[in-house]
């Protein structure tokens, strides 16, 4: 009954100012954290897509999904953990750079198909993206290379057409 599980859902909504608050309300009522969120307009500018990840008891997550589906401005909810999909995150990382670590940084960034976006004196900002399962490993790696701070996007995800 109490299996803890991570879940990524894709929610297609009418692009209304309070729709995010309504979705968030369903989670907070159950004391569930939204682990990550990303939202943007779709091909149809009247609609937005929200990708949201959360963790918790499976049964409760099922109820939450149904409750979200009941909200008026929700068009569709799909559980991306149940269908084949690509799930990625992007990170911006600020690194303290010196002659000692500079080459290693360049190597790692290249290996991860990332980019160095800015090179101010002593500090670089790099961009990398990765599969959600890789992100923690990537961060650990940069941490060793003098990471000063970072920002991650929420998960973005898209269903694969089977």
């Amino acid at each position: 009954m109490t299996k803890i599980k991570e879940k990524t859902v894709s929610i297609l909504v009418n692009n209304k100012p309070d729709v995010l608050a309504r979705i968030a309300g369903v989670f907070s009522l159950r004391s569930f954290n939204i682990e990550s969120i990303s939202a943007n307009v779709t091909k149809d500018p009247g609609k937005s897509k929200i990708i949201l990840t959360t963790k918790g008891n499976q049964d409760t997550l099922m109820t939450i999904e149904k409750q979200i589906n009941n909200l008026v401005d929700i068009i569709q909810v799909s559980d991306l953990t149940k269908i084949p999909s690509i799930r990625r995150e992007m990170i911006l990382i600020r690194l303290k750079v010196s002659t000692a670590n500079q080459n290693s940084i360049i190597q790692v960034v290249e290996k991860l198909h990332g980019r160095v976006l800015s090179k101010e004196e002593g500090y670089w900002i790099v961009e990398v993206s990765g599969d959600v399962d890789e992100i923690d490993a990537i961060l650990a790696r940069f941490d060793k290379l003098g990471m000063d701070d970072f920002t991650r996007t929420g998960t973005v995800a898209l269903e694969q057409i089977a």
Binding site: L29, T63, V72
Partner: protein, 560 residues
Amino acid sequence: MKLKGAQILFRALEAENVDTIFGYPGGKVLDLFDELFRSHVKNILVRHEQGAAHAADAYARVSGKVGVCMVTSGPGATNTVTGIVNAFMDSIPIVVLTGQVQSYLLGSDAFQEADITGITRPCTKHNFLIQRVEDIAQTVKDAFHIASTGRPGPVLIDLPVDIIQMEIEEADLPVVTIPVEKSQTPIVEECQEALTLLARAHKPIIFTGGGVVLGKASQELRQFVKQVNIPVTSSLMGLGAFPASDPLWLGMLGMHGTYYANMAISNCDVMLAIGVRFDDRVTSRVDAFAPNAKIIHIDIDPVTIDKIIQSHVSIIGDCKATLRIFNELMATGKYNMPAGQTDNWLKRVAAWKEEVPLGYCTGENIKPQCVIETLYRLTEGKAIITTEVGQNQMWAAQFYRFDEPNTFVTSGGLGTMGFGLPAAIGAQVACPDRLVVDIAGDGSIQMNIQELATAVNNKLPVKIVILNNSYLGMVRQWQELFYGKRYSQTDLTGSPDFVKLAEAYGATGLRADKPEEMEAMLKKGLNTPGVVVMDFHVEPEEGVYPMVRPGASLNDMLLK
């Protein structure tokens, strides 16, 4: 021709066949109330906005239409919140119109500004903040649709004053579109599966809830039960959907359910649950609820399915449509039970009924249960009963035997003291020719007592039966049972003289202290025209039984 926002709003209400609303004016809704002079819509002026929301709620329950209330911004709006949550918990379709400060002042802590859409987001089915005069008509259309379709519920429309004052050329108004119904998934297969399961049952039971009443499925239910001959129990919200005078009726189940309903639930092998959400007052300890039963769950709201009780067959559909399919399938003869399969079970149920019937002991004082029994007899079961909350509510549910749906109006999910009197007003507006009685406690009646003025001034002849035990009786009962009889803050000695209070409001007040006075006074009160307050001084420490202690299983009841 130019139209003002307020005018568009009232036209939209008229288009929804609204004839009566419940409201209270204020600075931000002067234009709306002024529009009453030009509209067919009539307002019942309440004395507190909570009363407006409860009256609209009861109006909806009794009439089957959407109830409407209209209040000012800020405190007017926040005063409706208890009423909104009440309607939300019991899935009642109401539309709440709230005034709001000028749209350009929103968020500036303007005088009498309250973020009512924010406040009511978790307790409305949906709410709207109108931002353009062009949107008013469509929003009203959508609000009524949302409130009344699917699982019904309250919808709030917040109306900034500048928008309702704004004028627009009639020709420039957009055409209102009719909201599309959500398509229902076909359910015939599930229905077949359900009836196959039911046909194999040796110890079946039907458990109905508010969904049957709200879904207007009472006739279909009766027809179905006639064919399958299975005992029926119901939650508080479902009372009346199945006639209490039928021999298959088991009474209410749950915390204060009958012994036999709770025993039957605890021992059944198949349960057909229709329009219920398995509230904790019904299930008590969930893992001991119908422990040996396969459960068939019908509900219009997918959220209720498997939320608390795991079902073996689930049907997401409205009760009326589903029961119609059941009845059609039964007519094929394919789902009949083998003769005699449930004979032992029906005997067992009858034995439980005889073993511990609902009852009480008579004594020196008036017994509250006896007042309700007598009320039932004198009104021939034909009154619309509203209740307050507490013991009075439970005794009403146990001892007034409801034969028709929409005649028992009670605050089930929220348990709102102060609901009964404004609810009686709303019910009386919906049914001017019916006898409407509020069964009250001396505590609850004081929570919206000001509505006596509404009843008197609008000539709404509601009758109020106060079961006056000088205690917050239900809380006192818990203190007696679980807190060593330490009656902390539940003694209500010092309440006003309800006879004088009634008279001060222009109503009739009557009082009875002795059992031998009770019936004559009740008769007199019911036959007196106009609003009547009947103050019955009853046994102060009477308890409601049976009682399932919180956390206990349903078959573990205190009987005395």
